[in-house]
């Protein structure tokens, strides 16, 4: 290649620089010196700069030459003969000119971190890697608070060296930059590595080639490269369409070349990871744009994408979220009617945008494609696999918890200031039944954080079922009805609330075609009418309709000055201060002070009892049993129950209900004569000596607890003392057996005098049920069986596993066995109740309806235990309670070793002591369940021994005996 260069004579004795940094520039004279300076100011001194100008039309090359003159021997400047229009040609030229042992690339608008060269050199020399890669940070230069976003930080969490890229496919798949890397120059030369020229996205191919060729790659967690990002990019317009399609075509071509490279190198595993990422990320970026594009763009896009999708491994569809797979599948089928709604869900994750269909006990995204036709999927197996959304649990959601797609079908300005709107709301699986009473209203609210104090509503005139959707029409007289305060509230969001037989669901209006909503409407702001008196419809990036107040041009500058200048600063600082005061007043610390310094000085109220179960999450367990016994005996006392979460549903109506941590809650605790709870009241609250705390606890222990847990032991002595103070609040602690004394009482370091050997009140019902059964000779089923619709001729099994911690945010608990297979095998004999731990959540497919029932929402487990003819558990403490019934128990301990050894350990070996079969696999479980009666007999003795050991004080009168001991004085008369 020809080039002009400034001849810089080099002393023959010059030592080769450790690192050459190739800085490429095109029409960027202003920023070039900053980039170059970031190299010259490196902590590693032995570094040279090679500037390559892509034939700029501004003064970039002059700037480069001046720098070369200023720093002889450290900076050299080159210029390509012809503009290449890309990054590839100048970088290739830089490689050819570089003299350093290592080479880095820097763009003229970015900068290197000060220690970048030193850190990369150290890594390269210690590990001998061909390629060292460090963390890149995207710096949003025009953001007000210096926003910085790390580029795939999980790849750079720690230093690691790879012998081959196949050890970490995500590196090739995600970090496709060429600039945050340091290459051994000999490596580039020997491997003939060059950037492709004449095509965009050259980094993707170059980095893939380098990764694949490198003998060793070292990753360092150091920040090395600041990628300066300008956010105020020009808004997309239709004229960009050609360029966008061309870019997309370039991207696909690069992808094809990378795939070819991977195939040539035999790196098939990497290709698979790349496919997964394509479905999850690359495709999504483009799909999200589709609602804003016209039909011809969509067709061209689909044609290019379809072609590439053919090369994607079908197994990759299993590795992405269902909605990603669905969108890719529908795009491949060019099924626009189903694809565009699916894209809405892709953009708005919790939105339900398709009517769905139930078939053969499963839920599918759409009715189409399920039977397959031709091309590689003759029976529709693949389609059904991809479109199956049963696991997402749409079929068990009530309408008020759904976020339904509401697509705008009509928008017109009827007369001055009135807009007439029409749309269709998705009705998934007929959740809105044909006979339902429907009302609706449109709501206009200002988009702002904090309090929305101005909301304007307009009725929805018509609402009716129309095919699979609910069609609606409304007109809103904005000129009269919408009275914004002024330009402070510039954007107004529109929502449609739909009431279905009294249950409310809220939708946003989605514009599914570009150009549907247009024009300006007059409004009358209360203030600032002179500067703005019109609104114009605007579609948000999520595709939702809103309105923006139109300001006159001059005004914009005025507003800008107001907001950014002194008045704005003043107003904002006042606002922030007010917010800080409010935060402080409502903070936990303030509340705790209030409890100690105010409420605790009030007199204790005789007869006031505060109850709580599982930190207020439930009305259940022994506190409930004690409370009910007190009511049964007609005691005169004042009951307060604490609740938390969405509301006090399910809590008793004849008690005062207070939200946990609310002021009434704290006041009640401070004045209570008794605290009755099964877990813990807030740790920071000191109990008054006049208050008696009855700690019922919530189960005997298999797992190590309290000071027997590693986490507790690790605490320092002062922390342990602090913890002990919270435990010493217990005045009484209920004990079911000497096992509890050896485990819980010891682990909490409780004094002997606090131990109350009366058994658990919650278990009275179980002991009594067994007695009754033995007396009558018959097992009675109560109201719960009817409520759950359990036929009399079927036995009831309860599956109650213990809580399992799952990594990350996924809270769904997956059953460790195939529930459909279970129903098919045992459905004629058993009804299976599934109760996941209250922190986990389970979804059952419609196919098992009536045969397997999710009972996780039931607060109280005791009635479920009483109902069940057999229990399946793993390590849950319900085993100790259920044993009291003398009915068969099954231990499905599929992960026992992991549970016991990787967790905090157990007090005894369940495998030795379990009073029932311990099974490890689904097969073994099925075999064991074949006969309940046989198991009942076989393990009868073992169960008695188990009860004697773990429940010796559970005699059926625990609640009564507690009332006798503590509350007898409140009996009437």
């Amino acid at each position: 290649m020809n080039e002009e260069s400034l001849p810089v004579p080099l002393p023959a004795s010059a030592v080769a620089p450790d690192v050459s940094v190739v800085v490429i520039v095109y029409n960027d004279e202003a920023r070039l010196p900053t980039a170059v300076r970031s190299v010259l100011e490196q902590t590693l001194r032995n570094v040279e700069v090679v500037i390559v100008d892509d034939r700029s039309t501004d003064g970039s090359y002059d700037v480069a030459r001046r720098l070369a003159v200023e720093y002889p021997g450290r900076v050299r400047a080159f210029r390509l003969e012809r503009n290449s229009g890309g990054c590839g040609a100048p970088r290739n030229h830089g490689i050819a000119q570089a003299r350093g042992t290592y080479v880095l690339f820097l763009d003229s608008d970015d900068v290197l971190e000060r220690n970048a060269c030193r850190n990369m050199l150290e890594a390269a020399e210690t590990t001998g890697a061909d390629l060292v890669s460090g963390m890149c940070v995207r710096v949003h230069v025009d953001s007000r608070n210096g926003k910085e976003v790390k580029w795939y930080p999980w790849l750079y969490a720690r230093t690691r060296t790879l012998e081959s890229i196949s050890e970490l496919p995500d590196l090739l798949v995600f970090d496709t930059l060429s600039t945050n890397k340091c290459y051994r120059r000999e490596f580039l030369v020997e491997q003939g590595l060059e950037f492709p020229v004449g095509i965009h996205y050259e980094d993707l191919l170059f980095s893939a080639q380098a990764y694949a060729a490198a003998r060793r790659i070292t990753l360092i967690p150091n920040r090395v490269y600041d990628w300066n990002v300008v956010d105020k990019a020009v808004a997309k317009s239709i004229s960009n369409r050609r360029a966008d399609i061309a870019n997309f075509a370039h991207r696909m071509e690069i992808h094809r070349r990378v795939d070819q490279l991977l195939a040539d190198k035999g790196l098939l595993e990497l290709k698979f990871h790349k496919d997964v990422k394509f479905l999850k990320h690359d495709l999504v970026l483009h799909l999200r744009d589709l609602p804003f594009r016209d039909a011809s763009y969509r067709e061209e896009f689909a044609a290019i994408a379809r072609d590439y999708l053919e090369s994607i491994d079908r197994a990759a569809f299993d590795e992405v979220e269902p909605i990603h797979a669905i969108c890719a599948y529908l795009l491949q089928k060019s099924d626009w009617d189903n694809l565009l709604p699916a894209v809405d869900t892709l953009t708005n994750r919790d939105k339900i945008s398709s009517p769905m269909v139930e078939r053969d006990g499963r839920i599918y995204w759409c009715a189409e494609h399920l039977d397959g036709h031709g091309d590689g999927d003759p029976d529709g197996d693949f389609a059904r696999h991809v479109l199956d959304v049963t696991e997402l649990g749409y079929h068990v959601k009530p309408v008020e918890k759904m976020f339904l797609r509401n697509v705008l079908t009509g928008y017109e300005e009827a007369q001055a200031g009135t807009v007439r709107l029409a749309g269709r709301i998705t009705n998934p699986l007929g959740v809105i039944p044909p006979g339902a009473r429907l009302t609706g209203e449109l709501e206009f609210a200002a988009r702002r954080k904090g309090v929305r104090f101005q909301i304007f509503r307009f009725p929805v005139a018509t609402l009716r079922h129309e095919g699979e959707a609910i069609a609606w029409e409304a007109s809103a007289d904005l000129a009269r009805g919408l009275r914004p305060l002024g330009i402070v509230d510039a954007v107004w969001d529109v929502r449609l609330h739909l009431d279905v037989d009294g249950a409310r669901t809220t939708t946003r209006l989605t514009a599914s075609e570009p150009g549907l909503a247009d024009g300006q409407l007059p409004v009358r702001p209360r203030l600032t009418r002179l500067v703005a008196d019109h609104v114009t419809p605007e579609i948000s990036s999520r595709g939702h309709l809103s309105f923006r107040i139109v300001t006159r041009e001059k005004v914009d500058a005025l507003v800008e000055r107001g907001v950014r200048g002194a008045p704005g600063r003043f107003a904002k600082s006042g606002y922030r201060k007010a917010k800080a005061v409010r935060r402080k007043l409502t903070s936990g610390d303030t509340k705790i002070r209030l409890y100690h310094e105010v409420f605790s000085r009030l007199p204790v109220k005789k007869g006031l009892v505060v109850f709580e179960s599982h930190l207020g999450r439930q009305y259940s367990d022994s506190p409930k049993a004690i409370y009910e016994e007190m009511r049964r005996q007609g005691l005169e006392f004042e009951a307060v129950w604490s609740y938390t979460g969405s509301g006090p549903a399910g809590f008793p109506a004849d008690a005062t209900l207070v939200r946990r941590w609310s002021l009434p809650y704290l006041k009640a605790l401070a004045q209570a004569e008794f605290w009755v709870d099964n877990q813990s009241y807030p740790l920071k609250l000191t109990k008054r000596p006049e208050t008696t705390y009855i700690q019922t606890w919530h189960g005997s222990a298999l797992k190590r607890m309290g000071f027997d847990e590693p986490e507790w032991k690790l605490r320092t002595r002062p922390e342990q003392a602090e913890q002990q103070r919270t435990l010493d609040r217990f005045d009484r602690f209920l004990i079911r057996s000497e096992h509890d004394v050896r485990t819980l009482a010891r682990a909490f370091r409780l004094k002997e005098k606090t131990l109350l050997r009366v058994g658990y009140p919650r278990n009275d019902a179980l002991v009594q049920a067994r007695k009754r059964e033995e007396e009558v000779g018959l097992r009675e089923r109560g109201a719960l069986a009817a409520e759950l619709g359990i036929p009399g001729d079927k036995a009831v099994l309860l599956y109650a596993p213990t809580f399992r911690q799952h990594g990350g945010r996924q809270r769904r608990f997956e059953l460790p066995f195939d529930v459909e297979r279970f129903a098919d095998t045992f459905g004629d004999r058993y009804v299976l109740l599934v109760r996941s731990h209250y922190l986990n959540h389970v979804v059952l497919p419609p196919s098992v309806r009536g045969r397997v029932i999710d009972v996780s929402a039931h607060h109280d487990v005791t009635p479920l235990l009483a109902l069940a003819d057999g229990l399946i558990t793993d390590y849950s403490s319900v085993m100790f309670d259920y044993a009291l019934l003398g009915r068969p128990m099954f231990f499905f301990a599929y992960d026992y070793e992991e549970y016991v050894h990787e967790g905090r350990g157990t007090y005894f070996d369940l495998l030795e002591r379990a009073p029932g079969p311990v099974v490890r696999t689904e097969e073994e479980l099925h075999t064991a369940l074949a006969s309940l009666d046989e198991q009942a007999v076989k393990y009868a003795e073992a169960r008695e021994g188990f009860v004697a050991e773990f429940g010796e004080y559970d005699k059926g009168n625990a609640a009564q005996s507690i009332v006798d001991q503590f509350f007898a004085q409140w009996r009437r008369g």
Binding site: N115, T159, P710, G905
Partner: protein, 369 residues
């Protein structure tokens, strides 16, 4: 160590809180000072203040300077004025050095003074002699982030710790391990049925957890004894705990020892139950004496020193049941003890003084490039 290197001979300053405060940092800096002196470098050890508790140093072949005669004024204007004064003295010391001189700041508190001195032309290295996590729980964390931000190299003890500091924005962080304090001629014969623990009787060393652990295994090994060396403020509480757990007839409280190799030779297994460590010398010493270790994996330095399953056994921090199982494994199997003990003595030699001194000289040279 009479071998004089061919590398350039430098002026090296070690700057610590005190030149002779009792503790690991003092032992480390004087060990390094002697080694570098032996290699022909000109070493000067500087302390900011006199120590609280003195560590006996004996004769040293290099000069030592302590800036303050007593404690510096409390933080505030007087402190700042005195710091400027003392910085002038430091500057004078530094200016007198030959080109290529290095300042090694062993503790971040001392860095507050060095930061005020003129270090132009010198290479400044700041060290954190504890694990990242342990530092994070103390006030040193913020000070490391502030005062070591612009030094030429910040040094942690392991790669893992360095990476964590880098994650906090200390982009100049790297690491160097500690050298082996001694290599005894005679290894332990591993004939006595005794488990050895050496460490101050202080919360950090987790002797309370060791007693809980011992309570789980002692009944199964009535012929074994636990020998706890060390003294400290928790002695009384710990002895009470020991009695409460019924362990008095299998635990020996040995008090502080000045003969660590001798103590180690009297045992067949070493146990460490600390809540936090940096790059624990006690483990290195046990391994050098060919005593296999069971330890809580409380810091990157621990799994750096002990190769779990190869020359020792590690347990999750705080999980006394697991530590008990590890001890049980070693105590029940003589062949395993011998195998791991011998492997430990060989493997630990990657931290011999020659190795570590070479790494330091390489680092000095690298930072000049």
């Amino acid at each position: 160590m009479t071998l004089v290197s061919t590398d350039p001979q430098r002026d090296v300053f070690f700057v610590s809180n005190s030149v002779n405060e009792l503790g690991g940092v003092t032992s480390w800096s004087h060990q390094m000072a002697r080694l570098l002196t032996g290699r022909g470098h000109r070493v000067h050890v500087v302390g900011i203040t006199p120590p609280g508790v003195v560590q006996e140093l004996g004769e040293v072949p290099y000069p030592m300077t302590t800036l303050y005669a007593g404690q510096p004024p409390r933080p505030g204007r007087a402190r700042e004025a005195s710091m400027r004064e003392q910085a002038v003295r430091l500057t004078a010391l530094f200016r007198a050095a030959r080109p290529g001189a290095v300042v090694v700041v062993t503790q971040v508190w001392a860095m507050e003074w060095v930061a005020q001195a003129d270090t132009r032309g010198l290479t400044v290295i700041g060290m954190s002699h504890e694990s990242f996590e342990y530092s994070k729980a103390s006030s040193r964390f913020q000070r490391v982030r502030t005062y070591y931000k612009d030094v030429d190299r910040m040094l942690a003890l392991t790669r893992e710790d360095a990476d964590l500091w880098i994650g906090q924005g200390l982009n100049n962080a790297s690491y160097l391990p500690n050298p082996l304090p001694f290599m005894p001629e005679v290894p332990s014969p591993r004939t006595e049925k005794a488990v050895i623990s050496i460490g101050r009787l202080h919360d950090q060393k987790g002797i309370d957890m060791l007693l809980d652990t011992w309570a789980e295994i002692a009944p199964r090994h009535p012929d074994w004894r636990l020998r706890i060396y060390g003294s400290g403020e928790d002695e009384e509480i710990l002895k009470k705990q020991c009695t409460a757990l019924g362990l008095d007839n299998s635990v020996d409280w040995m008090g502080r020892t000045s003969d660590v190799p001798g103590a180690l030779r009297g045992g067949s297994v070493f146990v460490q139950s600390s809540r936090g460590e940096g790059f624990p010398l006690a483990l290195m010493e046990a391994m050098a004496t060919a005593v296999p270790c069971a330890a809580f994996d409380c810091a990157p330095g621990v799994h750096e020193i002990v190769r779990d399953g190869e020359d020792g056994l590690l347990a999750t921090l705080g999980n006394t049941g697991e530590l008990a199982r590890r001890l049980d494994t070693l105590m029940s199997d003589k062949e395993l003890r011998d195998g791991m003990g011998d492997a430990a003595r060989i493997n630990i030699q990657r931290y011999t003084t020659d190795e570590i001194v070479r790494k330091w000289e390489d680092l000095f040279a690298f930072l000049e490039r």
